[in-house]
């Protein structure tokens, strides 16, 4: 690039500051792993979103044909009420995906802010760390049980559990990044220059904190999907008859002899989702390593 027009190139530089960050993540998704992962995820999301169009019979199309074996017509067979298990699994994705898509970003933003709050007030940062300690002291399902007690079982309780459960993961990462970035010489240099705290935060600390956080978003999504399954399996999550991967398993396991696909189907969906997010996390992680290890 030749710098002929100073103002223009300067603006270009600033645009690149943003572009470079996002571009890196997009580039990561272009890698083979990222491509497969995001492709799979897009496929699952599209299937969930367009389930009513793909399967016009709806999630509840019952028939007298209980427990049919898997066939072309019913890839996962039918359940006790003669419903297509595959269709129900696809619909169930709606719950899992909506949960993590709402809850994890909330947790990511809140957690990151809480983690970074130490930059504004040391005391506040410490206080949030203690909160994270407490949350981390609670094994995930115990946490879920506590929240179900307070809120009552359902989507909201699950979303809250996922948020609370993921919060410290982001908070810790952000704080870790903050602490390590704060001591970096380029941050000190900016401080010596008199750059204001918010600007230092946005320009120097946040971009470097974001990498691990983006990776964690993917991982927390997996965590969230499994939390839904766990709580719904024991009946404390989504309440039947709304199909979710957990509620399907809750019922499916009772018919495991009559229709193993009733259990296997939701598990396949769970694993596909987990695989998609895992591949994405891997790809992002590789990207992080690449830019870190320059």
């Amino acid at each position: 690039m030749t710098a002929t027009n100073p103002t223009e190139t300067h603006a270009g530089g600033r645009r690149r500051l943003m572009g470079e960050g996002l571009g890196r993540y997009i580039a990561a998704l272009g890698q083979p792993k990222g491509l497969i992962g995001s492709g799979l995820l897009v496929l699952l999301v599209l299937a969930a979103v367009f389930a009513p169009i793909l399967f016009p019979g709806g999630v509840d199309q019952q028939s007298r044909d209980s427990f049919l074996l898997p066939s072309l017509l019913h890839p996962f067979g039918t359940d006790e009420l003669g419903r297509d298990i595959f269709v129900r699994c696809v619909y169930a994705l709606q719950v899992s995906i909506s949960l993590v898509i709402v809850a994890v970003p909330i947790a990511a933003v809140l957690g990151t802010l809480m983690g970074l709050s130490g930059a504004i007030s040391g005391l506040l940062g410490e206080a949030f760390q203690r909160v994270f300690d407490i949350i981390l002291g609670f094994p995930s399902l115990v946490l879920g049980i506590c929240i179900v007690i307070v809120i009552g079982p359902g989507w909201l309780a699950l979303a809250t559990t996922i948020v609370v459960f993921s919060l410290p993961q982001f908070g810790r990462l952000a704080r870790g990044a903050l602490l390590s970035e704060q001591g970096r010489e380029y941050v000190l240099a900016a401080r010596v220059l008199g750059v204001s705290r918010p600007k230092i935060m946005i320009r120097h600390i946040l971009p470097n904190a974001l990498d691990p956080i983006f990776v964690q978003v993917s991982l927390s999504m997996i965590g969230g999907i499994f939390i839904e399954a766990a709580l719904s399996i024991v009946g404390l999550g989504i309440q039947p008859p709304t199909p979710s991967l957990g509620t399907l398993l809750n019922v499916g396991i009772r018919y495991v002899y009559a229709q193993p696909m009733y259990t296997a189907g939701p598990i396949i969906m769970l694993l596909l989702l987990a695989l998609a997010f895992n591949l994405i996390a891997d790809a992002l992680n590789a990207q992080v390593l690449k830019t870190r290890g320059e």
């Binding site: 010489e185 380029y186 000190l188 010596v192 120097h204 320059e294």
Partner: protein
């Protein structure tokens, strides 16, 4: 001449990165002899460690030997089965590593680790223990029978390196390969360890290969030298001969670009242009040709071979020019030593731009709620002043408080007591206004050129952030940024590059440009060149000197390398354990030190002048610097002082009374016996 102990012939190694192969070492040949120290020198990445590891057959997994042989005891080590090689490692050839912190297993006692070296080569446990105690004593660890059951973290860095050396000599190895054994240590400790190595060499009659990047170290203890550049040996021979008349331009330039602690100070250091090449992208022909003032066509095309020089068969060099001309032509540049320094630039009467009075910096001790550690007093009652256009050098061992002091001045640390005045204004409280004032006046250049630039920002962004702080409107920043680049000698076309595209020296220049962006009047440079290779170091030092003279900057120049400080400074302050122990005009301090610590530092610093007796005359300090948590009473230096109560128990005053920083005129020292300190220095030079 002693027989060859080890012969390396045409050694080549390659790295494999996926499909690609990179040849890292090319035709490396040299020999080591019993009773002699062979120095291998070269800048970072030139392949020194790789050579050592190839000899030991301890290459990284991705590397392999592609050709050549390593002859030892009439066999080729590279052909031995691994089990045979293992029995040679540690028993016939031993190795000492760079970082004494990391080279010992933290969860095993030092005794266990020495014993292991013996046990794996067949000694029984109880004999091994007795021998381990003996070895600890041999390397100079006091009370070895007590310390043998201590863990490594209970030892200081220097002592750990002694333990590693004890391991190396445990099985009476014939050859010790020491890979930068003192690079991580302070000069005072370095002197201890080097002396130990030399002692052991002559006492045990072994051969030593010493890898280093410090020509001073080579001059002081090596008998032979191998100079490496870009994975090749470019010159080798006896130290005296090579130093007197280097036959490769690289060797010559390297020697010249070193700042000297003694002799005439020059205005500019001779530099080697460009930077050290990356082994995976070596220039064609002679790897040094892009930086060589004699480069001819042939140098671009043909790789020069290492051949004996006409007239001095013991000398070999790999240079087309030297070969064609039967020796290196004289340097086209004017001889630097002919242009003495232009005197002190400041008028002594100008008001100080930076004044520090009785400043202390304390770090909380840490620990839990129930048990608090004592606080660390990193800086304890320091007073300094700096005038415009003046350079004040600040030297001292690692951990003495140099960084803490300098960061406090720019508000990165809070002082616990004392005053800071910048351009006459008291800024100690560092309120909003004071902070703004400091930032306009004082800027900082950091030590690590790799860490001090945000890898996410282009150079343009880095500079314009700084220019923005100066209040420059957006449209003017471009021109200002170009001016800054020009000022530090970088091409303005580089503005759009990211830091990773630059070498260490270039980055450091960008760091300086950033500091200059706000047009400060004082620059604080915290070891700005200690992470750089010698050839690059000179470039940065020259730029600093230029800028100081052009802009009338006051510079607080921090370093632990006394030669560098001497080159640049008008006045020098010596720091020990949070205190200034001596301060004065550079020439006075260097020539007539009034504090034993200064004398020791000066004496410990290796000088790139071969002198077989230098090692014997050196003042070598015992022990290590005490922890700033629990400084000794009275004079802080007394626990290591060669003239204090250690040498003369009647000197109770050193234990009881804290010496004041006093002296004739500007040259002050904090010693109860300054005259004796002066005598000490004279004695070590004679």
């Amino acid at each position: 001449m002693a027989a060859n102990l080890l012969e390396v012939r045409n050694l080549g190694t390659t790295f494999r990165f996926g499909q690609a192969e990179v040849q890292a070492l090319h035709e490396v040949s040299f020999e080591a002899r019993t009773g002699r120290v062979l120095g291998i020198v070269g800048e970072s990445g030139s392949g020194k460690s790789l050579t050592a590891r190839a000899i030991m057959r301890m290459l990284p997994e991705t590397a392999s030997v592609s050709n050549g042989e390593v002859l030892f005891e009439s066999g080729n080590l590279l052909d031995l089965p691994e089990a045979r090689m293992r029995s040679i490692r540690g028993s016939k050839i031993a190795m000492v590593f760079q970082d004494p912190q990391a080279a010992l297993n933290p969860v095993k006692t030092v005794g266990w680790q020495i014993e292991e070296a013996l046990v794996v080569h067949g000694m029984n446990k109880s004999r091994a223990r007795a021998r381990a105690i003996e070895l600890l004593g041999q390397v100079g660890i006091p009370e070895p029978d007590k310390r043998i059951d201590d863990f490594p973290h209970q030892f200081s860095g220097g002592m750990r390196q002694r333990v590693v050396i004890a391991i190396a000599i445990a099985n009476s190895a014939k050859l010790i390969i020491a890979d930068e054994p003192t690079t991580a240590l302070d000069v005072t400790i370095q002197a201890q360890v080097l002396r130990l190595l030399v002692d052991l060499k002559s006492r045990l009659d072994i051969g030593v290969i010493l890898i280093t990047h410090d020509m001073g170290v080579v001059a002081e203890i090596c008998d032979d030298i191998v100079v490496m550049y870009g994975g090749r040996v470019v010159e080798r021979g006896a130290v005296a001969g090579v130093f007197a008349a280097p036959q490769h331009p690289y060797t010559r330039n390297l020697l010249r670009s070193m700042p000297r602690i003694e002799g005439v100070r020059t205005a500019r250091l001779p530099t080697i242009p460009g930077s050290t090449p990356d082994l995976s992208r070596l220039p064609s022909g002679c790897a040094f040709h892009p930086r060589c003032q004699f480069a001819e066509d042939i140098c671009l095309r043909e790789v020069p071979v290492l051949l004996p020089m006409a007239g001095s068969p013991e000398r070999e060099a790999a240079c087309h020019v030297a070969r064609q001309n039967a020796g290196l032509p004289p340097d086209p540049d004017p001889t630097p030593s002919s242009e003495p320094l232009a005197g002190v630039r400041t008028s002594g009467s100008a008001p100080a731009i930076l004044e520090i009075e009785d400043l202390s910096v304390t770090f909380p001790g840490g620990g839990g709620w129930l048990r608090r550690e004592k606080p660390i007093v990193a800086v304890d009652g320091v007073s300094l002043s700096l005038r415009p256009g003046e350079t004040l050098g600040l030297v001292g061992e690692s951990g003495c408080g140099k960084t803490s002091l300098s960061r406090t001045i720019v508000g990165l640390n809070r002082p616990s007591s004392g005053y800071i005045r910048v351009a006459g204004e008291d800024v100690t409280d560092f309120g909003a206004e004071a902070a703004a004032h400091v930032r306009r006046t004082v800027q900082y250049v950091f030590q690590d050129p790799y860490a001090s630039l945000n890898p996410r920002l282009s150079i343009r962004q880095i500079l314009s952030e700084a220019l923005e702080q100066r209040g420059l409107p957006g449209r003017q920043r471009e021109a200002a940024a170009r001016a800054l680049m020009d000022m530090v000698g970088l091409d303005a076309a580089y503005l759009d590059r990211y830091p990773k595209a630059f070498s260490g020296g270039q980055r450091q220049r960008i760091g300086i440009a950033r500091a200059l962006a706000v047009e400060p009047r004082v620059l604080i440079c915290d070891e700005p060149v200690s992470a750089l290779d010698v050839s690059i170091q000179a470039q940065v030092i020259n730029i600093l000197a230029d800028l100081r003279d052009r802009l009338g900057l006051g510079i607080l120049f921090i370093a632990h390398d006394l030669s560098v400080v001497r080159h640049l400074s008008d006045r020098v302050a010596v720091m020990y354990l949070g205190r200034i122990v001596e301060i004065g005009p550079a020439s006075d301090v260097y020539e007539h030190p009034l504090h034993p610590y200064t004398a020791v530092l000066l004496s410990s610093t290796p000088k790139p002048v071969p002198d077989p007796s230098a090692m014997q005359r050196k003042l070598v300090l015992g022990g290590d610097m005490p922890s700033p948590r629990n400084p000794p009473s009275g004079c802080r230096f007394r626990t290591r002082c060669p003239i204090g109560p250690l040498a003369d128990p009647s000197r109770r005053i050193c234990i009881e009374k804290d010496p004041l920083l006093v002296g004739p005129g500007e040259h002050k020292s904090a010693c109860h016996f300054p005259d004796e300190a002066a005598g000490l220095a004279v004695q070590s030079k004679a």
